[in-house]
């Protein structure tokens, strides 16, 4: 794991949290829409919150796919769940809202879970003869080459 990969994981976390928040906020401004009434769809997309939310979700999707290309699913999912913690911390310290003890416990559990996987390897090294067909040769080469890890 080099700095660039941590940056991608941070991107997955932040883009997902921010994108969902912005889209949710924007959709509450535009109200309910349906495909039967196309002008309302265009009106909704022109809303800056909605447009920003969609862009951030696309950025999330790109970073998520990038992370999955060099890390296990069981590594990426817990590692990026810090987004939930991020949203709760924004509520507490930027918006000065009350966070119940049960939610603090939830934050602690997620943080603990992330700490657990952070110390381990991010990718299962498959034996070439065992599951060689599953992995593309270049990804094996990149994982084993001495220059790939600092």
């Amino acid at each position: 794991m080099n700095f660039r990969k941590y940056l991608v994981l941070a991107g997955v976390t932040v883009f997902a949290a921010a994108g969902d928040s912005m889209l949710s906020h924007g959709m509450k401004q535009t109200g309910n829409i349906s495909l039967n009434h196309l002008p309302s769809v265009i009106f909704a997309i022109l809303n800056p919150w909605v447009a920003g939310g969609i862009l951030l979700l696309l950025a999330f999707f790109a970073t998520y796919m990038t992370a999955l290309s060099w890390a296990d699913l069981t590594y990426v999912l817990p590692a990026t769940s810090l987004g939930y913690v991020l949203l709760a911390l924004v509520a507490r310290f930027l918006l000065h809202e009350h966070v119940s003890p049960l939610r603090w416990l939830g934050i602690a559990l997620i943080t603990g879970g992330v700490g657990f996987i952070a110390g381990g390897p991010e990718l299962t090294k498959h034996e070439p003869h065992e599951h060689g067909a599953v992995q593309a040769p270049e990804s094996v080469g990149a994982a084993l080459s001495p220059g790939a890890e600092p």
Binding site: R4, G19, D20, S21, S24, M27, T30, G31, N32, I33, S34, L35, V41, A44, I45, V50, L57, L58, F60, F61, Y64, M65, T66, L68, S69, D72, L73, T74, Y75, V76, L77, P78, S81, Y84, L87, A88, V90, E97, H98, L102, R103, L105, G106, I107, A108, I110, G112, G113, V114, F116, I117, G119, G120, T124, H126, H131, V134, Q135, A136, E138
Partner: protein, 177 residues
């Protein structure tokens, strides 16, 4: 005025929900979010049809979990087939990487599964309360993904990763509930 945290609950849904949203945004422009913000203002079904609504809600939750897990596993497998995006981009260029990804059959199937998850979520929210649907679907997806990754992706899900998945699932359930 609704607090940020109570609004927050609405999108603490499965971890794959942003993926499903990104896909849903493309497939059906914003229909979903309109429905989500509309539905969750109503209280769930009347007590006379309580049993039916509980059954429907849990069926929809299981459908979300199943579709999300299938989607995540397919997307993960697709990206392992494509290979390390960073290294590949330096060698063949960004356009070629995107082309390889979009033409991967597992990737397309995964995107379809995410679309199914997105619409299951809309059904679940129209039958059940968001305070049940969100934490239940989110936690079960974490556990389901750990099991599916072990079986189908042959990932080494050791004790460390089981503990991590369980802790995060419990934490998300508390945060969303």
């Amino acid at each position: 005025m609704r607090s940020f945290l109570s609004r927050l609950r609405r999108f603490i849904i499965p971890r794959s929900f942003p993926t499903a949203c990104a896909v849903g945004c493309i497939l059906s422009p914003l229909r979903g979010y309109g429905a989500v913000s509309n539905v969750s203002q109503h209280s769930p079904g009347s007590s006379s049809s309580l049993h039916a609504s509980v059954l429907y809600t849990w069926s929809a939750i299981l459908a979300i979990v199943f579709a999300s897990v299938v989607g995540d596993v397919l997307l993960a497998r697709a990206m392992k087939q494509v290979g390390d995006v960073g290294a590949l981009r330096r060698r063949v260029g960004l356009v070629a990487v995107i082309g390889r990804t979009l033409s991967n059959p597992n990737f397309l199937l995964g995107v379809m599964a995410m679309a199914v998850a997105f619409f299951s979520l809309l059904f679940a929210l129209s039958w059940g309360d968001v305070s049940l649907v969100a934490p239940a679907a989110a936690s079960l997806t974490f556990i389901g993904n750990a099991v599916a990754a072990k079986i189908f992706l042959h990932e080494r899900v050791d004790r460390r990763r089981w503990i991590a998945a369980s802790l995060v699932a419990a934490g998300v359930a508390l945060l969303a509930g």
